[in-house]
């Protein structure tokens, strides 16, 4: 199907919540309140209308008995009423000329109500309305303020308002998820990681808009630099997805996490087949064919997307590691090599330059240069900058990881800025790891992140980031487009 209407989901001129209600834990109330709050805060530009068959008023807004009564055109309707009433509401949406509908309601094919679901799909088709859902959380777009998540942002705990589901800020990752529960919870996690999203879509039963449509749409979305997909089963259209995916990944990377890869997992997805292991292998084969990177865990999905959103793909799999601590460097090297990356010896030129820096007194004499390079816990800011600059220029190195372990007394709070001065114009990808969760750890990582150098807290995490950049680079090389890609690659613009 054409994607010409998809933009109405994310940037409608007007939106109606069908099922806006006074019951504060009802999905309709939560969604209506989200939108009104965003409207009042100036984030959402669209007009917001509440619809409830009983009429009345909620949150100071008059409720219309039907969308047909709303005295304005409506681009996007959000339906949050019991399943059996959805067909009628859809008919009215169609007659109103509404462009797109997000159906939050559950009670369709997931509980055996296949006919009801088919009826809804058919009404959408008849009127040319695109549908996201039913039985999902719908859409969230921090750029436009569209937020159909019926999970309340706050709850009352011990009489006190407590943040229930923090929404992540603006970012570059589009997150498409088959599981609403996972999607919602991950938004809360991304918020804590200060990792933003461009768009979030939880499509539940996915009766219309699917991965194929969204990839086509996101190809042209300036806010999306990488797409994260959580998928349990492909209902149909695998071939089309591979075709569309191949087109997409020539421009932007995709990372996929597949749920139900083991016997118990698949049993729960209700997609049990005779040969499960084989089934997963088929999926992985399909993902690889479309150029997508396969994540092995939720954490890896996030860590890979963070690297791909901010840094260019790597031209090869040789990683340089600059550290001021032996152990952390060793563990990062272990994790990289386990993932098939290489941590090679440095070139003779690089070793010569490093030794010269030792002679000059910039790098401590107890430093070791085996790669991981350990400039030791007595290294100064300047030693870090010098070592980073030298190793970044090594022709044997495709990607650099700097372990900016800020703890020793010889390092100042200015270290991140000084490192940025030699990293920011690098054509090679650069990643940061700084273990720790304290105040200064967060401060250090935030500076790097804000300057598009992805930072990580743990060895496995930075290794996942590196793996993604290497795998994507290898894919582009196999397609013969890596040089063109790198030439036209631009760092993301800074977000306010």
């Amino acid at each position: 199907m054409s994607i010409e209407k998809l933009h109405y989901f994310f940037e409608p001129r007007s939106v109606a919540v069908i099922g806006a209600s006074t019951r504060v834990d009802s999905p309709g109330y939560v969604i209506f309140k989200n939108l009104l709050d965003n409207k009042r805060a100036g984030i959402l530009k669209a007009e917001v209308y509440g619809v409830n068959i009983k009429g009345g008023e909620v949150l100071g807004e008059k409720l219309f008995r039907s969308v047909l009564e709303v005295p304005d055109d409506i681009d996007h309707a959000i339906i949050a009423i019991p399943a059996k009433f959805v067909p009628e509401a859809m008919e009215e949406c169609g007659r109103k000329g509404i462009k797109v509908v997000t159906i939050i309601s559950s009670g369709f094919s997931e509980v055996g109500e296949v006919e009801l679901e088919n009826k809804v799909r058919k009404i959408g088709k008849n009127y040319g309305m695109r549908i996201i859902g039913p039985n999902g959380l719908g859409v969230y777009d921090p750029y436009t303020g569209i937020d159909t998540l019926f999970i309340p942002p706050k709850k009352i705990i011990d009489g006190k308002e407590t943040v229930n589901l923090a929404r992540p800020p603006k970012g570059f990752i589009a997150f498409l998820t088959q599981s609403g529960a996972l999607g919602g919870a991950l938004l809360d996690y991304l918020w804590g990681e200060e990792l933003g999203v461009s768009k979030f879509v939880s499509w539940g039963n996915k009766i219309d808009v699917d991965e194929v449509d969204m990839l086509e749409y996101l190809k042209g979305d300036p806010n999306t630099r990488v797409v994260a997909i959580y998928m349990e089963a492909l209902k149909a259209g695998g071939r089309e997805l591979i075709r569309k995916g191949r087109e997409f990944t020539l421009r932007k990377p995709i990372v996929v996490l597949k749920g139900g890869t083991t016997e118990a997992g698949a049993r729960a997805t209700q997609s049990h087949t005779a040969s499960l292991a084989g089934n997963y292998r088929i999926y992985v084969g399909a993902f690889r064919q479309m150029g997508a990177i396969v994540a092995e865990s939720v954490l890896e999905l996030m860590d890979m997307c963070k690297a791909l959103a901010l840094q260019p793909p790597a031209h090869g799999k040789n990683v340089g590691i600059v550290s001021n601590g032996g152990g952390p460097g060793i563990i990062v090297a272990d994790q990289l090599e386990r993932r098939g990356l290489r941590v090679p010896k440095l070139s003779d030129d690089t070793l010569r330059e490093l030794k010269q820096a030792v002679k000059d007194g910039t790098i401590p004499s107890i430093a070791t240069f085996a790669n991981p390079i350990d400039i030791s816990g007595t290294a100064s800011d300047d030693a870090y900058v010098k070592a980073t600059e030298i190793v970044l220029n090594d022709k044997n190195i495709d990607l650099l990881i700097v372990l900016a372990l800020h703890h020793p007394p010889t390092l100042t709070g200015r270290l991140p800025e000084k490192l940025l001065s030699v990293m920011k114009d690098s054509k090679k990808p650069v990643l940061i790891m700084d273990i720790g969760l304290g105040e200064l750890s967060r401060y250090v990582r935030r500076i790097f992140d804000k300057n598009n150098i992805p930072s990580y807290t743990l060895p496995i995490r930075v290794a996942s980031g590196a793996k993604a950049l290497v795998e994507y680079g290898e894919y582009l090389a196999r397609q013969g487009v890596i040089n063109d890609y790198l030439e036209s690659w631009e760092p993301p613009r800074r977000l306010s």
Copy 2:
């Protein structure tokens, strides 16, 4: 060697810092200040003396020119002066009758000064003084306030005091690390995870006190319920460690992370051997022989220790999963089965009881009971409690994971307490996962943690915890002691 003196490292009656200095970024200053601060805060009971060959005064305290001048017995000396002066200081410590010495100074065998190191070791032997170090961070004990970490707790950033290395609170994990850089950074991480330690030892070149001694000592330490070890190479005494480890793991679990398991990693440990993969296999074999659990990453090391500190080992590998979201349950099941655990179908009795609870209206009718059990996003607190209670009693289930995903509007802030009421007397291990980093996520997890039910943020993390409990149970079963162990197992006391 005997362990009779080891307690002086952690609970001395008096401590001297040799190298206490006015230079605020010098190790001696930082350590002296840590100890004085802890003394003044009433945490440290020991007397604290500063020693500096130049005399003078720092932080309002008179400095003695030699330990011999201190008008008091000293149990524990901390040496933080240039390496070449260490032998003389050690001689004075010996003559003073000091029991144990932590040597922070670097500049010994790690830079080729093997003779100097041997000299220091010999002086310790002559006087019967035990040594931790040199070239490490030394020891940290949150129970007694001993803190020889020369990493400043705070740094000045933009004119503002900023926490540089937050120390974790009192807990049950003893952490022994060959890498000071990793150790220090991990303390900062553990602080953020609100995961406490019983003792921390960073022994650098490890010329005297080693794993064998510490295991012997920690066997009787009431604060230590599990030991985490980061190890790059065993210098000698592997056989002795296996023997001591076997004794130890019959009483308390050990988790080991080995650094340098790949070519590049091992190159950096300077323990390069002809057959590396074989080398790691030998290590893993030795760890298994001693009953230790092998962690594959820093994150897994922490997650395994958290589970082992708070919960009993599992009697088998069958895991039950109760969730209110399909996706998260599926992913946890995938991660468990990848680690060799099983997520079996529930017994007929259990299914009957669950179906009865649906009939009674406690559990929503759209719930599915395939294990993972998905009580759906519309489940109430009571549905959660009921499902948890029923599955916990299933005779096919050895360990229960509850995905207490708190986000849906139908769940209240009281859910954790209600779940605890059916979990707290369980003989089977129980773990919690709640994805998210927001305010309510942290609140929920903190309640479980404080009540000894370990909580995790991500599927791989809770799967690591489960794996540790299953592996330790299997080991105890092979040794024929699992029933005795479980009978005498006690939950940890609550910490203030």
